[in-house]
Amino acid sequence: MRYTPHTPSDKAEMLRAIGLSEVEQLFDHLPASLRDRAQISLPPGLSETAVKRRMAALAAKNGTAENWSLFLGGGIYHHAIPSAVDAVISRSEFATSYTPYQPEVSQGTLQAMFEFQTLICQLTGMEVANAGLYDGASAAAEAVLMARRLQDGRHRVFVSRALHPQYRQVIATYVKNLVDVELVEVPFTERGGTDAEFLAQQVDERAMCVVLGYPNFFGVIEDLAPIRALCDRSGALMATVTTEPLSLALLKPPGELGADIVVGEGQSLGVPMALGGPGFGFFTCQKRFVRSMPGRLAGETVDSEGRRGFVLTLATREQHIRREKATSNICTSQTLCALASTVFMAMLGKSGMRRMAEVNARRAHRARERLLKEAGLVPVFSGPFFNEFVLKAKGLSRLQERFAAKKIVPGIPVAEFYPELQDCLLICVTEMNEEEEIEHLARTFGEG
């Protein structure tokens, strides 16, 4: 057998030690009605070679960022990942360890978590960060749930329609069974941002929190100042959600703009797209909320000899201690992906993150200019953006084949999520999209 090291004589001797003669006796106390039907009907096991071939054949049926020109963002981004990242996370000491319950032999994971928390705080401009959650969408849901814990008596959650549609779906799923939460959808303006006027009318002492993207799903950088002012006035919490955290190396961080909770998806920072997972959610807030936070926290302490060390801390928030009263049900999270991004951020560092972010912004802005001028696309929103933007291309659906023939995916058709935005594309340009690709894109549009 592939991974069980038992030889026939190992089995015989072990059984003898137990006082049995056959393996089947190990479970003969189970009802026969179960045992008799338990046979698994799947093909027999394959050699490693055959597995690799089968998997390679499946992989070959997918169109990848290597053999297609993808202008796709919308929550998952194709960025350069230094080879050093995979080298680190492949080390079995990191990859194959469990949640660090025994800190004396887990300082590697624990210190990396502590560093991760620090990096996320620095990037978002926030005071505390946890060690990660499943993804950006559930992190957004957890933000609402934390607001609920903090905002007793307030029921109304204002969710921007310009927030990533899947995130809105996940929030809706998470809160749908909670009687004390009411979701209110906030429209967006022609700027592509959340409608502050709508909020001004609606946000009052019943408002638990306002949740919006930064940048939002349209790539637009929200103007947080008026919303912060509204929250100050009403006592609502302001929660921002970032799906493209690379942008925060360039943009004013939400912490600086007064966000109470800042969450997001971290995939963009060193994790491959992989059909959208695994990445990781990040979760930050002001320090005073720390005991209401979901997820693991690594904290600094000392050992019995006075050396610095790290442990999982404030565990009394968590399910394994608090059970039904826990701040969240999360247990296994996405630690290795958070480690990947810790390595990524360490590699790029202060100037590298800035440089990469600038390259994104520069190329995206040039590409937009070009598509407007040379390819006849039409602007949709007026707000500023980082590396993705929405444009209108007349007769979009008829263009699909032309693009497919050239192995280009020009963007995400947003009408699927916003029926009013027919023929609109969310186009993302990162440092991975070369000048020639963009030219090719513009030319292909232009041909029509």
Binding site: L26, A56, A59, L119, L178, L275, D303, K350, I412
Partner: protein, 490 residues
């Protein structure tokens, strides 16, 4: 930094990345590109204060040294109960990194995702077959999210049948995520006890089961490693009052080819692929917690769902009863790829042998240690066994001390103090990938520690003695939490 011996001058601990480096340094090189970013200045931040400034070699040294402070399955035996720390095959790592899987965008047109969807479709089918269920969603990112998803399915189903009901029954041996997920799904938790065989009695369920109860969450084998023999009878009790049975399938590693949850009266369960299907735990994830259901719950499964028509796979969202979406995109695809490779590698025979050998290993340890440590329950165990520190308590040696002392022997300790119903629990799950010699070495270590507890309890109470750091002050960490590095102010 401290020195761990007068003679050894190399530091035992590693400075934080923020404490090294030099202003302006970076491990990232990108040729200068000219031109404006296009963004108005007032939207831009200053540099990120405190962010690291390291070179590539510096970064690698930092993490290599950190890795040396860590313990993985390739370091030594890791019998963490309930966690199924089995070998994580390297071939799965290799295939998950194929560009055809790693560089795929989830919002690309389905024509570009045919291989991925075929894989997911195949994995759903394989998990349904292994568990004896009818349909599967792969969206949940881990066991706990699977629980939440499963309970939401129950809730949606019952709501349609008349009302969501109010309560979930959870045994006292259950993992903490069960009650936590129940709450998150808007339910109250009713806790029930187990009998002196460590099992849930049908009568105990019957006592609390009524029309206000939506479901029972049962773990089988339970967290004591004991098979809930009466599960079908229990399911009858629940079903008779219109409730559903949720199985926490974290312990599926005990059941493959031995018994199918689908035959136990179970309506819905989750499977932790990072346990049963050998995907690496990564120090705390990523995992995957697919949910398998009987037909009655199929229509409620999260969207999008994968459908096959002819040779083509498609994504469909138009299931009006669906609970919605619990995770962005398709779940932890990279983890699912590994799990699929694992299932292909083992096939039916291999999966069956897996569970059998998991049982053999656990029972062997149980037998060999039964006179050394107090066994928690007399019942035959499945894939794990639970001991207590009762015998050692008389020397004032606790489970914690035993665990820490095991570190000096080079082993990772078992899960400790769980399940909560066993005082001073030592929960040992060897998994099937361990050899008899390794088990014997562990048994010897445990035996030797038991002897040390008699002869020199102090040695245990001050353990570990040979780890990179020694016992850490957890109280201090929690009292005044330091959760991030801050630049020194001067």
């Amino acid at each position: 930094m401290q020195e761990h011996s007068a003679k050894a001058k190399a530091p035992a601990t590693v400075p934080l990345m923020f404490e090294s480096g030099s202003p302006g340094r970076t491990g990232f090189f990108w040729p200068e590109e000219a031109g404006p970013t296009g963004l108005p200045q007032e939207l831009l931040r200053d540099e990120i204060p405190g962010f690291p400034e390291l070179g590539e070699l510096e970064v690698l040294r930092h993490f290599t040294r950190l890795s040396h402070l860590n313990f993985g399955i390739e370091s030594q035996f890791y019998p963490l109960g309930s966690c199924t720390m089995k070998y994580n095959p390297k071939v799965n790592e290799a295939v998950a990194r194929l560009p055809g899987f790693a560089l795929v965008h989830p919002l690309a047109p389905p024509a570009l995702l045919q291989g991925a969807l075929e894989l997911l479709f195949g994995l759903e089918a394989a998990l349904a077959e292994i568990s004896g269920m009818d349909a599967v969603t792969l969206q949940p990112a881990a066991g706990a999210q699977g629980e939440l998803t499963g309970l939401m399915l129950v809730r949606a189903y019952l709501s349609e049948k008349g009302g969501p009901r109010r309560k979930i029954i959870v045994p006292d041996t259950a993992h903490g995520t069960n009650p936590a997920s129940s709450t998150l799904c808007g339910y109250d938790v009713v806790q029930i006890g187990s009998n002196d065989q460590g099992m849930v009695e049908p009568s105990a369920v019957a006592k609390v089961m009524d029309e206000t109860v939506a479901a029972l969450m049962l773990t089988n084998p339970n967290t004591l490693g004991i098979f809930e023999k009466n599960i079908n009878a229990i399911a009858d009790v629940v079903h008779s009052k219109g409730g559903l049975v949720y199985l926490d399938g974290a312990n599926m590693n005990a059941l493959m080819g031995i018994a199918k949850p689908g035959h136990m009266g179970v309506d819905v369960l989750h499977i932790n692929l990072h346990k049963t299907c050998s995907t690496p735990h990564g120090g705390g994830g990523p995992g995957a917690g697919p949910v398998a259901v009987k037909n009655l719950l199929r229509d409620y499964l999260p969207v999008p769902r994968i459908v096959k028509s002819g040779d083509r796979y498609d994504l469909r969202e138009d299931f009006s009863k669906a609970i919605g979406r619990v995770r962005s995109f398709f779940g932890n695809f990279g983890v699912l790829v590994r799990a699929y490779a694992y299932i292909l590698s083992l096939g039916s025979d291999g999966l069956q042998e897996t569970s059998r050998m998991a049982l053999l290993n656990a029972n062997y340890i149980r037998k060999k240690l039964e006179n050394v440590f107090q066994i928690a329950y007399a019942e035959r165990c499945m894939h794990e066994c639970v001991f207590t520190d009762r015998l050692q308590q008389k020397r004032h040696v606790s489970t914690l001390d035993i665990a820490k002392r095991l570190l000096d022997y080079g082993f990772h300790p078992p899960t400790i103090y769980f399940p909560l119903v066993v005082s001073g629990a030592l929960m040992i799950e060897p998994t099937e990938t361990e050899s008899r010699e390794t088990l014997d070495a562990f048994i010897d270590a445990m035996t030797s520690i038991a002897r040390e507890a008699e002869e020199n309890p102090e040695l245990l109470k001050t353990a570990p003695h040979s780890t990179p750091v020694r016992r850490l002050d957890e109280a201090k960490a929690a009292r005044k939490p330091v959760l991030r590095w801050e630049p020194k102010r001067g």
